[in-house]
């Protein structure tokens, strides 16, 4: 029986390039990012002053914050997709990034004149921002789940968390091209809240779907 199986598997053998896993992840990411970007353009549209915004530091802080978290998520996903690996380093970097942005946000809050504080926390879109982030993350999350189901994660919870982080942060990155908010506390609070919600969804999905 086992000998037959081995024979069958040997006949089925096709070469696998050594970076095959990263290629599949890349395809999933590209599909998710393109879909999410198209959705943002058609549904919300880029901010009207996008080119002017390129000259402001807060645009780049939003850009780098979300992209850094997204890259760490993708890095972690590429690790935990392999059996027996845990992606500890990228997830530790995530904690550092979130912590440092939170500290910067705290400083900007206490140093702001009291009458401006409400504005830099709530902006004009606080209650919709997390929803948009979640919505724009969905194509990325679905692509990432399809990716992970082909892999061999031995810790489904961690695998779900990683794909959730990747999808949530990159969805927020796409959203940042629409968003006109300029407060650091706003970014820390509402962007992070949207990303955290997607991390939660990813973790639950991981526990449900990443069995193999």
């Amino acid at each position: 029986m086992t000998a037959e199986l081995i024979e069958r598997l040997a006949q089925d053998l096709k070469p696998v390039p050594s970076n095959a896993l990263l290629k599949v992840l890349g395809i999933a990411l590209a599909f998710g990012l393109v879909t999410s970007t198209i959705a943002m353009m058609l549904w919300l549209g880029p901010r009207p002053d996008l080119f002017k915004a390129f000259g402001t530091p807060i645009f780049w802080i939003k850009f780098v914050y979300t992209l850094a978290l997204g890259c760490c998520g993708a890095w972690a996903a590429s690790r935990v997709a392999r059996p027996g690996e845990n992606g500890r380093l990228p997830l530790a970097i995530v904690c550092l990034v979130v912590l440092s942005v939170a500290i910067a946000a705290g400083i900007s809050y206490v140093t702001a004149p009291p009458q401006e504080r409400h504005a830099i926390v709530m902006g004009s879109s606080a209650l919709v921002c997390p929803h948009y982030v979640i919505a724009l993350s969905m194509p990325l999350l679905i692509a990432a789940i399809v990716f992970m189901r082909r892999m061999a994660p031995t810790n489904p919870t961690l695998a779900g968390l990683s794909v959730g982080l990747m999808a949530g942060a990159l969805g927020a990155w796409v959203y940042s091209f629409h968003c006109t908010e300029a407060g650091l506390p706003f970014l820390t609070l509402w962007y992070s809240l949207g990303i955290a919600a997607v991390v939660l969804v990813g973790t639950v999905a991981g526990r449900l779907f990443f069995r193999w």
């Binding site: 081995i6 006949q11 193999w212």
Partner: protein, 182 residues
């Protein structure tokens, strides 16, 4: 999977050749792995599940085949293969636990638990007294004195299967009668 680390180099080079498409190397690798997997699973699956060793070996080989792109050539091959083997074992144990009917070992645990408590000896005797004599003797021999099923069967003049059934029924009856009150 003891014995694996020493063969890391050989297995890893077989794996690299397999990933490049060398099916002769792949056949050798899978044959070697199936032996190691069999040894690993046989040692870790208890009586009730020992019939599943072959199935589990094949499942692990299939997973190794289908998910071979998750092997990172910069890491140890045996660690990768072992992580898959272990995952499949944990998966089987979880599934078998989920579908277990009143598992006999759980009931034995229940009895053992009574045994450690201070007033237990008398309680245990009282509980066993509610069972028919023959069942009581068998449970004593197999679950308390630690005799094997074969020994108990020989001394009672019964078949091993009959002993297993009698012990199981007796423990289940005890559990139904006393287990719920606790």
């Amino acid at each position: 999977m003891s014995g694996l680390p020493t063969s890391e180099d050989r297995l890893r080079s077989l794996m690299l050749a397999s990933l490049a498409g060398d099916s002769a190397a792949y056949r050798k690798l899978l044959a070697d792995l199936s032996e190691r997997l069999g040894r690993y699973y046989r040692r870790r699956l208890r009586e009730a599940l020992s019939a599943q060793v072959d199935d589990l070996v094949q499942e692990a080989l299939l997973a190794i085949h289908a998910r071979r792109m998750t092997y990172d050539p910069n890491r140890a091959f045996t660690a990768w293969a072992f992580a898959i083997a272990r995952y499949k074992l944990v998966d089987l144990l979880r599934r078998s636990r989920a579908q277990a009917h009143v598992a006999i070992d759980d009931v034995a645990d229940f009895l053992a638990d009574v045994d450690v408590s201070t007033e237990s000896a008398a309680d245990l005797a009282t509980m066993l007294d509610t069972l028919p004599e023959r069942t009581r003797v068998l449970i004593r021999q197999v679950k308390i004195e630690g005799q094997s099923v074969a020994e108990a069967a020989a001394s009672a003049g019964m078949s091993e299967a009959a002993v297993k059934v009698a012990v199981h029924r007796g423990l289940k009856a005890l559990f139904n009668r006393f287990g719920r009150k606790r």
